[in-house]
């Protein structure tokens, strides 16, 4: 039976030293090389696979992974790929419209996702948003935007700019909208007055 060569951590230190991770100092983490590189791309797991000691527990390192370095692991979490296709917008499409877009509302703890294809017009969309977030968005006017209402709907377009919902024709909006954000009326004032 072939014995595994003990892995030499020293050679890896240069990379490891600059890698952002939340492992405790002195943690003898398994080096990534031992796992399939396809399995874990940028792993940020707090993974003490060697002896986990009492002293480690007492250090009280709080697990709070920053989203930027969150692991992208193949096949994890174990949710069927069928469902993945249903839930995810098609990010790879060049026109960027994959009709499901995220909707956030200032002050709400939870984002939602809606399928823009379901709506035929701005009024349908706004009604749905009002219903979903239990808020009033009011009526759009070209000159004043949504002035006077508690909330104003904005969206991020293909160029990354934040635009007021309603300025462009519906079809154009549908193809350029990447995500929606319902801003508090006071903050949105700036957009409406341009």
């Amino acid at each position: 039976m072939e014995m595994e060569r003990p892995v030499n951590l020293e050679n890896e230190l240069n990379l490891k030293a600059t890698e952002l991770r939340l492992g405790l100092p002195g943690n003898d983490d398994q080096p990534e090389k031992q796992y399939s590189s396809r399995s874990i791309r940028s792993i940020n797991k707090r993974f003490s696979s060697e002896m986990y000691t009492e002293s480690d527990a007492q250090k009280g390192d709080h697990q709070d992974p920053s989203p930027a370095t969150k692991a992208q692991v193949v096949g994890w979490p174990p949710v069927r790929s069928y469902r993945r296709n249903v839930l995810q917008p098609k990010k790879a499409e060049a026109d960027g419209a994959g009709m499901y877009v995220k909707v956030s509302m200032d002050g709400a703890p939870y984002l939602r996702k809606i399928d823009l294809k379901v709506y035929q017009s701005y009024s349908e969309l706004l009604n749905a948003l009002e219903d979903m977030f239990k808020c009033t968005i009011g009526v759009y006017s070209e000159r004043e935007g949504y002035n006077g209402s508690d909330y104003a709907p904005t969206y991020e377009d293909k160029d990354g700019d934040w635009m007021l919902v309603g300025d462009v024709p519906w079809e154009m909006f549908m193809t350029s909208c990447k995500r929606l954000r319902i801003m508090k009326g006071s903050e949105a004032k700036g957009l409406g007055c341009l």
């Binding site: 039976m1 072939e2 399939s36 396809r38 989203p67 969150k70 839930l87």
Partner: protein, 588 residues
Amino acid sequence: MDSISKKTKDSPNSTDSPESTHPSSFPDEVLEGVLSLLSFNKDRSSVSLVCKDWYNAERWTRTKVFIGNCYSVSPEIVARRFPKIRSIILKGKPRFSDFNLVPENWGADIQSWLVVFARVYPFLEELRLKRMTVSDESLEFLAASFPGFKALSLSSCDGFSTDGLKAIATHCKNLIELDIQDNGMDDFGGGWLSCFPENFASLEVLNFASLNSEVNFDALERLVTRCKSLKVLRVNKGITLEQLQRLLMRAPQLMELGTGSFQQDLTPRQCAELESAFSNCKNLHTVSGLWEANSLNLPILYPACASLVFLNLIDATLQSGELAKLLAHCPNLRRLWVQDTVEDKGLEAVGSCCPLLEELRVFPADPFDPDILHGVTESGFVAVSRGCRRLRYVLYFCRQMTNAAVATIVQNCPDFTHFRLCIINPGQPDHLTNEPMDEAFGAVVKTCTKLQRLSVSGLLTDLTFEYIGKYAKNLETLSVAFAGSSDRGMQCVLGGCSKLRKLEIRDCPFGNAALLSGLEKYESMRSLWMSACNVTMNGCRLLAREMPWLNVEVMKDEESDDSHADKVYVYRSVAGPRRDAPPFVMTL
């Protein structure tokens, strides 16, 4: 019938040698008559081991066969042993193929089976496939080869399209069931439904919920109208509420309903009509679908809720308040599937409204999106366990858990048979104490003596596996990911879990010592899967050499080094090594 009275004084157990020289206690016809009443295959397997006569009597009377791993046996062997099969359940790829861990074209193709079946079982009626590759040609062949064919169920299969469904609908004149679930199939349109002939009226089960293309509603309505015995109807989200109402009026006898889209703006009259339609369905016990259901439309379900036993809300993105209002009408619920958008508050409602609940599955609404930090926590699970003491099956995706919570949960619900906990961030510890989650699973296996299936997650050391090996004496299926400290973990499981049948492991520090410690165990198991562990090619070769009745298959990743065995699949087989293995599957 003198021969019977003469022989009844002999007990069957006295015939102890397989090659018995004195005749069996009963004439064949009697023995076969008795054995044909056995329906559970486990009983039949036991019976077939008694003696040669019983083996033969059993094989001549078996009509249903279940093959958990299509490569454990060959179609020829099955055909030789069982001449009278009418119903077949076949499972193919390892379960982790559902999560993209198995490359395409791996195998498990149904065609070679169908060819043999067509020759040997012309009266085949039922085929249920899971994780098999099924081509349109195979479906056409099926439709053409078995005139009495009645039931087709395809779950997690791939390789076919709606064209294949056209062949089934067109040619299977005696079809009772068409159940299409969660498949990797191509959807070229809803025209397949219109292929059912106008005089075709035998359907009892129709499930096309997972197909996206719209079907012709008129054709569907006519079909539902003619099929007076229709019991299960699951439509896709192309069907509107208005259309649903018409379907329900045609099929008030339905027992299981999968609705279409639940989003339509309804007039009060339409609402009333739908409520009336639902209250007409006196036998309705299962509801699913409910795409885009909102608080405006959910109340139309209320008339049917009192008798609901299974509510599948996996496609309805409900929030806590909406769920609470709905569940207040569902006191008899036994099974509930939800998305984690309902949050802990929604689960509290589950605990207070559904005391008879036996099964709960909570799925993550956005499993792959790192921005989403909410969902359900340990509190929701605890709340359910307080109210639902009869829980025996749970699948729970969450982003935080504690050892204490799990201990409380199993104390409240000691009857768990299936405990599948998925803490979404790999290797995450108890979020309050920062300790590993060992004690949580220790509590599960110590308390839940009937546990058959366990999935572990979170930060786990070998201690978890010591507990499992020591206490989980009824465990049959174990799934492990990103866990363990050393070979010892896996060794404890292999050494202690006497009833283990399926072990699937990914991304754990288990190596050759662990793999080889199960040398003799694997023959009593269906299969072992190990991927991204520390097993080497030499370790696998040794296993293959020592155990000729096992197939040891390795798939290597592109970037891995030569000695590493990236994906290992080990299973017992009487059919020998695969003859259809693609180039990337190495049989050692």
